[in-house]
Amino acid sequence: MTAKPKIIVGLGTCGIAAGGQDVYQAIEKALAENNIDAELTQTGCIGACENEVLVDIQKPGQPRITYGKVPPEEVGNVVTEHIVKDQISRDFVLGKIGEGDLPAEYEDIPVFFEELPFYQKQNRLCLRNCGFINPEIIDEYVAREGYEALKKVITTMKPEEVVEEVKKSGLRGRGGGGFPSGLKWEFTMKAEGDKKYIVCNADEGDPGAFMDRSILEGDPHSVLEGMAIAGYAVGADEGYIYCRAEYPLAVKRLKLAIEQAKEKNFLGNNILGADFNFDLKVKEGAGAFVCGEETALLMSIEGKRGMPRPRPPFPAQKGLFDKPTCLNNVETFGNVPVVFLKGADYFASIGTEGSKGTKVFALTGSINRTGLAEVPMGITIQEVVYDIAGGLPGDGEFKAVQVGGPSGGCIPKDLLHLPIDYDSLTDAGAMMGSGGLVIMGLDTCMVDIARYFLTFTQSESCGKCTPCREGTKRMLEILQRITTGEGEPEDIEKLKTLGDAISSTSLCGLGQTAPNPVLTTLRYFQDEYEKHIFDKRCPAGICVDLLIYAIDPELCDGCRRCVKACPVDAISGEKKEPHVIDTEACIKCGACLEKCKEEAIKLQS
């Protein structure tokens, strides 16, 4: 227990974006002005992004109190009142963490992880330290059993036993494919080679995914520890973390963590006195989504164009600089220390038959509580959307959830009961992917969403293989036609044929999964495509070219502003009489919409 009160500000990228630095400075100022002796520190993302900026205050002997959405102008007061007068601001308090006594009047404050609906169904293994430690201070990681797993592995286990333990845990790759990690380690261990590498894929590029960023920013040492354990198991003495350059804070904290781990001899030569050397480097990406694909990533580390190559040979045989390479994703490595701290049996006891442990999901879109949630495998989509994320805002009705980013698929309402595990999602035409969940309400057009994702994958296609380069382009052209009212009856069949061909013949994962958003929306929402093609209507009211501008005669006060604004003279009407838009002449430029003060101009689908 700390002797001084401790104040912790959430300064991950999300916290900083919400104004965390201002809050931090305001607290510094308040402490100085009121002569308060307290420790002010920072931490990574605890997952409740919706409530940033998060400020925690812990007084000796009391539980830690978490405040959310604290504005800089108020935070000084909140901190002073709490520390000096023991008064907790009801306006901002979210919950309490840990043991200790509070004045009786505050007994009703919910227990953070147990009583807040966002956390009730979570099981935080990989995120165990996120939001608790200062990621820039190694001692705080060590104090929470940090590097204990590495110590145990190096001092008590043979490499074969380490691999066996990971196999027993049932851990599968968290980056998308879900390949059993233990097997991957075994292949690399058994591969012939004087030099082997460990590579961490931190090129989290899926739009809507930020799990890996939060782990790297909030608990970088857990990833380093997982990599060192892998190095010991497969016989590698060097590793790379390939991190996308769009994550400057993650890169900074990783580099700092590596430096600190070297000082403490958790990395470097003769680690912890044993005959084991392991060194790590951070490689920054340069902006290419395809580099998330493992062979492309390795090309990029080698300083080349990041284009995938055919497998086999798999990286475990011939990887980085043609040496056997064990490549896993951030969350996978983050889980490795858990496997050894808690035991493979414990790890395997969580989840389903084929998917063990937990998975971190980034919850975004039309939901009440956006953020990061770590849940046991096998939890249903329903539980995640409603119990954890709190459903849709207002009276919004659920339409679909996009699982797994541009490689995944849209899951409709009648599959809400589906358990989230690798196999169920694949059967439904989606995939676990890296773990983005974008929740969409009735106001989302599924054809537009499919077009959006395909626009992304099409522009990120590296161009090496024809199915992906040309096929995605043709699919996108068809989708663009459909969303602009030029769709033809045979387009649906064409999309299906093309999609299947691209999936089965593309060189790498990017191309093989690129058609998924189109194929799943066709599978579950074909009627929407039909409405666009045959009726030239967009039921959700999103595809602009299919909308009709109309004036609500009840609201129109006949001011003639829109009449003057219309560049094609499509609006007519006498002064003080309701005006009318000639939909044939209208070019849908929206000029009238901007001029109307009565908001009488409506877009109709």
């Binding site: 994550y247 340069a286 902006g287």
Partner: protein
């Protein structure tokens, strides 16, 4: 544009010397050159090719493959508008329109006064705060079109980047 005669080759040499012992260091070298000059000037690439004994075509191939490398000079501040799913759903289009109006440039271009380069980015990973844009390394979340001029103003007055 920089003339070849008075080009600062020493800066390129220094970067090359720093990295030459490491395998596959072309990308970090290019990153540092870009950091030094703000973009990848042709004389720098030609010089690097000579030092590395690598065909310039190969270096050019790497430069054009990755979206973060730029062969033309760029503005003092880089604005990146997020095109991620969440931002798409939460109305980034309106933010982008406002930016284009205010800056009078289109995506990929630099303002005449060289103050801003306006780009779009696939996802900055702050989906919880959508819609989001970045100016240099500062992230601005929960945007509304009306906040756009205020944010630009901070940089025009030379005081941005603190939030």
């Amino acid at each position: 544009m920089i003339e070849e005669n008075d080009f600062n080759y020493a800066a390129v040499d220094k970067i090359y010397e720093n990295w030459k012992t490491q395998k596959g260091a072309l990308i970090p070298m290019l990153q540092e050159i870009q950091h030094e000059f703000g973009y990848l000037p042709r004389p720098a690439l030609e010089h690097l090719a000579r030092r590395l004994r690598t065909p310039i075509s190969q270096i050019y191939g790497v430069c054009t493959f990755y979206s973060q490398f730029h062969l033309k000079p760029r503005g003092e501040h880089i604005i990146r508008v997020c095109q991620g799913t969440a931002c798409h759903v939460r109305g980034i289009a309106k933010i982008a329109m406002r930016l284009e109006e205010e800056l009078e440039v289109e995506v990929g271009d630099t303002t005449e006064d060289m103050l801003f380069t306006y780009e779009s980015v696939a996802c900055v990973g702050c989906c919880g705060l959508a819609p989001v844009m970045m100016v240099d390394e500062a992230t601005y979340g929960r945007l509304t079109p009306d906040r756009v001029p205020d944010i630009l103003n901070e940089y025009q007055r030379g005081e941005g980047n603190d939030s």
